[in-house]
């Protein structure tokens, strides 16, 4: 019996595709993507081995957040924001240099739409860059003298999980409607700003379903009550999406321009220029209603509306070639160029607020 068990183990180790444990994800076999779906982190899964140029499932992102907090405990704390519909905890990372100064806040969230995998990848990249360079890079260290960074790597955790396990192109949350016949709300149509007036659907089968009411979703509640609470300190609200290659200012629900529109555009265009200098990518800058289409109930418009002066939506790569399934070999260049844009925006806001100190 023992010999048989050992033989089977040996075969499983030597010929995993034939005899090994194969995890079957609904509709997608291990033959796709060369078995990447069941590729687990090696047993020595610590921060030094974390590959920022690969897409990570939520379990690995949770683990990464704890490891980041532990490794950079002098500046990083992990905080609970709220629960998802399926009772998964939402965590954000706060990067803060402990001083007695009252700091302003730069907020960034990623993964509000499940299928936009490049966005959580960018949030992780951003955190890594700040933490690896804050001691040596004067540009970053000056930010930390006056500002705390708050980063929410995955806002729509339930949707993200669903896009890994069941439907790669899922967009919404996973809340249940109509007696369990209909699932998910578009979290970026669920915020309390001109809710469901345009570019959103009251039909729960649609991808832009705005929910049963403004802020009906637990994820939206968690984010908006937090931001509402801290709005006097938040200088900049960034929300990261894909795809399309845009830097978008308010508003989406009207063509009327925000009061500081010219400044928002100027800052956005400088950021797009810095971005293009990295790898040549063309990003277009403008208000969502001018550049794309009308929508209402999105997080960025809401954040701006409650008083956060600088609010942008980023739409990352690409331009229609790979769309949501941006290949992993583009993660690094995308993150590098986006980083350049974000830091440029932060520079402009910083100098406006505190001069050139």
């Amino acid at each position: 019996m023992k010999k048989l068990l050992w033989t089977i183990c040996l075969l499983g180790i030597l010929f995993p595709p034939k005899f090994g444990l194969k995890v079957q994800h609904d509709g997608i076999s291990a033959k796709n993507g060369h078995g990447m779906l069941e590729k687990k982190e090696s047993s020595r899964s610590n921060l030094e081995n974390y590959d920022y140029t690969k897409y990570h499932p939520i379990e690995e992102i949770y683990k990464w957040m704890s490891q980041i907090e532990e490794r950079y405990s002098e500046v990083v704390t992990q905080h609970f924001l709220g629960m998802t519909y399926k009772a998964r905890p939402m965590y954000y990372l706060k990067i803060s240099e402990p001083t007695s100064t009252l700091k302003k806040i730069f907020w960034m969230d990623c993964g509000i739409h499940a299928r936009e995998w490049i966005t959580p990848a960018f949030c992780q990249w951003f955190v890594k860059e700040i933490l690896q360079n804050y001691k040596t890079d004067p540009r970053i260290s000056r930010f930390l003298r006056k500002v705390d960074f708050y980063i929410l790597p995955v806002l729509n955790i339930d949707g993200y999980v669903y896009s890994w396990r069941k439907d790669r192109f899922w967009r919404k949350s996973r809340s249940s409607h109509n007696n369990g016949t209909c699932f998910g709300t578009d979290l970026n149509r669920n915020f309390n700003i001109s809710w469901c007036n345009v570019g959103a659907s009251k039909n729960c089968t649609h991808q832009t379903f705005c929910g049963t009411g403004p802020v009906s979703e637990s994820e939206t509640k968690a984010v908006s009550s937090f931001i509402e609470d801290k709005k006097d300190s938040i200088l900049c609200y960034l929300t990261i999406h894909s795809y399309g290659q845009f830097i978008l200012t308010p508003y989406s629900f009207t063509k009327t321009k925000p009061s500081n529109y010219d400044e928002l555009i100027r800052i956005g265009q400088k950021a797009a220029k810095e971005l293009k200098a990295k790898h040549g990518s063309n990003y277009k800058v403008g208000s969502t209603s001018d550049m794309l289409y009308f929508t209402s109930g999105n997080s960025r418009d809401w954040a701006y509306h409650i008083g956060i002066p600088f609010a942008y939506t980023f739409e990352l790569r690409d331009n229609g070639t790979y769309k949501f399934t941006l290949p992993e070999d583009q993660i690094q260049p995308t993150c590098e160029e986006t980083m350049a844009a974000v830091l440029s925006i932060y520079d402009d806001i910083y100098e406006r607020e505190w001069g050139f100190n």
């Binding site: 997608i28 993507g33 832009t208 289409y293 229609g320 399934t325 992993e328």
Partner: protein, 264 residues
């Protein structure tokens, strides 16, 4: 062409007539409207034009991708508008890093699909090279073993096995036809996210038949639409595309003929 009517006299009727006049004049004038190169209208027109070009050229080795809109104007007609647009393109095969430009006149009829397109583009390769590349792809596809039914191109991680790339490039001919047909002026635009359930066979007259399911991403509504597409292709002969889509419950069918490399 100014006033075609004279106001009958002063008073409220004058106002009414002025209003009518303005409405009538607008309808019969060709109003020229400058458009921003980064705005959605020119991008929409450029996309529609390029889809049409790629489908008509039916050359999988020289599929073009929109790079940047350069300039353009809209000419407003009674039933819609004509958009004149110039844009830069690059080869889908990024390793070739070939660039080019196109200029097109795209006619949108109010809310109707199948915009009329008149387009010319600079060549990416010379005629001989292109024929050679298309034949190379033709041979590759002929020799290729049909991938398993559930294989998706690209994969979940955006990965594409190099051996499957010719299938994706050929599918772009059919996909371009579909995307062109469905494009309207009112900012509905489409990209093919993925192809799967691929069936391939060779007809006795040496045409390649490709039949597959595709997922179409509609940008404005963010919906993912499932379609089936049937493509008949040969490097030097006119090709044919047929499709049907499950578009929010209703079925949409379309079919069309593309020219083969004779177009260029």
């Amino acid at each position: 062409m100014l006033a075609r009517r004279r106001p009958a006299g002063p008073g409220p009727t004058a106002l009414l007539l002025v209003a009518l006049l303005a409405a009538e004049a607008r309808a019969s004038w060709l109003i020229r409207r400058p458009l921003s190169p980064s705005g959605p209208e020119l991008r929409q027109a450029a996309r529609a034009a390029l889809h049409f070009f790629n489908y008509r050229a039916a050359s999988p080795s020289t599929v073009r991708v929109l790079k940047e809109v350069l300039n353009g104007t809209a000419l407003i007609r009674e039933e819609g508008e004509n958009i004149k647009v110039a844009f830069s393109i690059e080869s889908y095969r990024t390793e070739n890093s070939q660039l080019g430009t196109c200029s097109a006149l795209v006619g949108f009829k109010d809310h109707k699909s199948r915009p009329t397109v008149n387009i010319s583009c600079t060549p990416l390769l010379d005629q001989k090279e292109r024929k050679k590349e298309d034949y190379k792809l033709y041979k590759q596809i002929k020799q290729l073993e049909t991938p398993p039914f559930e294989t998706t191109i690209p994969g979940k991680l955006g990965d594409m096995d190099p051996s499957l790339q010719p299938l994706w490039e050929l599918a772009m001919i059919g996909n371009s036809f579909l995307m062109w047909e469905k494009t309207t002026s009112t900012s509905s635009y489409y990209y093919v996210q993925q192809i799967t359930n691929i069936k391939k066979w060779i007809r006795p007259d040496d045409f390649i038949i490709l039949h597959y399911r595709l997922l179409l991403h509609e940008f404005r509504t963010q919906e993912i639409i499932s379609c089936h597409l049937h493509l008949v292709w040969h490097p030097e002969k006119p090709s044919k595309t047929q499709y049907h889509c499950q578009d929010s419950g209703t079925q949409e069918n379309g079919s069309g003929n593309s020219e083969g490399s004779g177009f260029l």
